[in-house]
């Protein structure tokens, strides 16, 4: 009997310690965690892995999480991949993308790990 492969969650964050932790955490929860580096290739990387969820930082240097989110939504992929903005700068997100919640995204403020876990559960099991 073939076992079902675990859902894939892509993590995009410029902080290597956070990326490392999130991968350990997600794998501990039974997910397949994939890292996509922030930058011009991130959108293509995400599309390649067809994830169930993307965990996205906002402040990531030249290419922000908001830019990447717009790129994801602009892709002609039939399904809009759910996004969790996991950020220490919620004000920035709320200023620049005030209607994120209508675009299939939710916000969790760092370092709310419990909140992140709850949102992951909501998204993956809905």
């Amino acid at each position: 009997m073939m076992s079902r492969s675990p859902p894939t969650i892509v993590v995009v964050d410029d902080d290597p310690d956070i990326v490392e932790f999130l991968c350990d955490y997600l794998r501990g929860m039974g997910f397949d965690a994939v890292i996509c580096r922030p930058g011009p290739q991130a959108a293509a990387c995400i599309a390649q892995h067809v994830p169930s969820l993307v965990i996205l930082d906002v402040e990531m240097g030249d290419t922000t999480g908001i830019d990447l989110f717009h790129a994801l939504r602009a892709d002609s992929v039939p399904r809009q991949v759910p996004v969790i903005f996991f950020t220490g700068t919620p004000d920035r997100l709320q200023q620049q993308l005030p209607h994120y919640h209508t675009l299939g995204a939710v916000l969790v403020v760092k370092p709310d790990i419990a909140g992140l876990a709850a949102r992951i559960h909501d998204v993956v099991h809905q």
């Binding site: 310690d17 402040e59 919640h101």
Partner: protein
């Protein structure tokens, strides 16, 4: 012949006046003092005066202050004598013109008993023209022309000065507008910089807490799963410290925002009673009893996250200083006041009496005040489009702790939160619900309020 000379003299005077007016029109400087200095120099030349001043009223010191003075010997002497500042209480002809609005002309100021002795005797002014200066209908000061020579000025000169004074008023108004705009631009730039700085600070300080909190949580779960009580205890204690660190960081960022004047509140309908119960549940423990006395639903407009933050602080403090076995009591009710009906949250503890310190920067939050009116469905008697709430916090500084006499009744902590006002921001309420800031059982109430509000607004 004499007529020809008179006409030539008149022509020369007219030409000089025209030149002076052209010079005034050409003043480019938008800095007030520089513009007025240029104007007074032009007028001094035109009228052959020893000194020309633009005195402006300074309300703080109730004094007429020479902001623009001609660069002449008498002008410099005036400054040396301190006669460039004329307190209204000292009187004098300049003050009289300012107060009455009546222009003044004399060729023999030395005979005028109402003039200040210093002007007559030490400056040696004999001829004087004084005209009130109005800007946008408000009396702002006096334009004054003085000469050491008697009978220097004529009625025509007075008329000319009155026309010039109107132009001085325009220059002043323009200069002040430019200064205000420049200050506003500078302030906006400062706020943008402060916001950027705090954003980056928040980002950089929060980042290390993610793996710290995260791995501690995983250690705890592993220890619990494997029955390693000692490690579970260590991990739990470490997590508690990290949570405290998070709270301190949040407070530090909030305080910085307050100090920089960039602290914003997100006002939305909140079931105050539910929020208080939720917060009490989080902090309650077998050793820490919190009794909540509140109706099922009491909706008011507030920033739920900030309100929760303040309540957590109040309750934590109250629990820390409350004697064992004595509950902390939280009451939620409504209070009619002169301006509106307010929702009031009161925290009572039985701890020792403490003096009333000044509220902390975080807790003293003077907020925006909106318009008065009637608003159904929430706090009765209020309709504030912006909403407002204020909080008075009684700090509990352990250094000021005093013993409570035995048998003393429980003391009421002078801590109360009042919230009033409203917005019709139902989408905001929805975001609050999505974020879990408002408990599920209040959804019906919030939605009902939103429907009623939209119906009333015709949306």
């Amino acid at each position: 012949m004499s007529n020809q000379i008179a006409r030539t003299g008149d022509s020369s005077t007219h030409a000089r006046r025209l030149t002076t007016l052209e010079g005034l029109l050409a003043i480019q400087s938008t800095e007030v003092r520089s513009a007025l200095d240029q104007a007074t120099d032009l007028v001094a030349t035109m009228l052959g005066a020893d000194k020309v001043d633009v005195f402006l009223y300074d309300a703080n010191s109730d004094t007429l202050v020479a902001l623009g003075t001609s660069n002449t010997p008498m002008g410099r002497q005036q400054q040396a004598l301190g006669l460039d500042r004329l307190p209204l209480s000292n009187g004098g002809k300049t003050v009289e013109v300012f107060q009455t609005g009546e222009p003044f002309l004399t060729g023999h100021l030395e005979h005028d008993p109402d003039e200040l002795p210093g002007v007559k005797e030490r400056l040696g002014v004999h001829s004087a023209l004084k005209v009130p200066l109005d800007v946008e209908g408000t009396r702002r000061g006096v334009v004054e022309v003085d000469a050491a020579q008697p009978d220097q000025f004529t009625e025509e000169d007075l008329s000319f000065l009155q026309a010039v004074t109107q132009w001085v008023g325009l220059i002043l108004h323009r200069g002040e507008l430019v200064e205000r705009v420049t200050q506003d631009v500078a302030e906006q730039a400062r706020q943008r910089t402060a916001t950027e700085l705090i954003t980056m600070l928040a980002h950089d300080l929060r980042a290390p807490l993610v793996p710290l909190q995260g791995y501690l949580g995983m250690l705890r779960e592993t220890a619990e799963r494997e029955g390693q009580d000692q490690y579970l205890q260590y991990a739990t204690r470490a997590q508690r410290s990290v949570t405290r660190l998070e709270r301190m960081l949040r407070d530090l960022l909030d305080t910085t925002r307050l100090e920089q004047g960039i602290f914003d509140l997100t006002l939305e309908p909140v079931n105050l009673a539910a929020l208080v119960r939720d917060t009490a549940d989080l902090l309650r423990s077998p050793a820490a009893t919190i009794e909540v006395r509140a109706p099922g639903v009491l909706t008011a407009v507030a920033d739920a996250a900030r309100l929760r933050q303040v309540l957590e602080n109040l309750l934590s403090n109250a629990l820390r200083f409350s004697p064992e076995g004595m509950p902390v009591i939280v009451e939620v009710g409504m209070e009619p006041r002169e301006d509106a009906t307010w929702a009031v949250v009161t925290v009572q503890d039985a701890g020792p009496d403490c003096p009333r310190p000044a509220p902390t920067a975080l807790h003293a939050l003077p907020l925006r005040w909106g318009q008065q009116g009637a608003w159904p469905g929430a706090v009765p008697g209020t309709r504030d489009r912006r909403g407002a709430w204020r909080h008075a916090h009684r700090g509990l500084d352990p250094r000021q702790r005093r013993k409570l006499p035995p048998g003393a009744p429980p003391r009421r902590a002078a801590a109360s939160l009042t919230a009033r006002g409203l917005t019709s921001a139902s989408p905001k309420a929805q975001r609050a619900l999505n974020a879990g800031r408002v408990k599920r059982h209040s959804e019906r109430q919030v939605d009902e309020w939103g429907r009623r509000r939209r119906a009333k607004d015709g949306v």
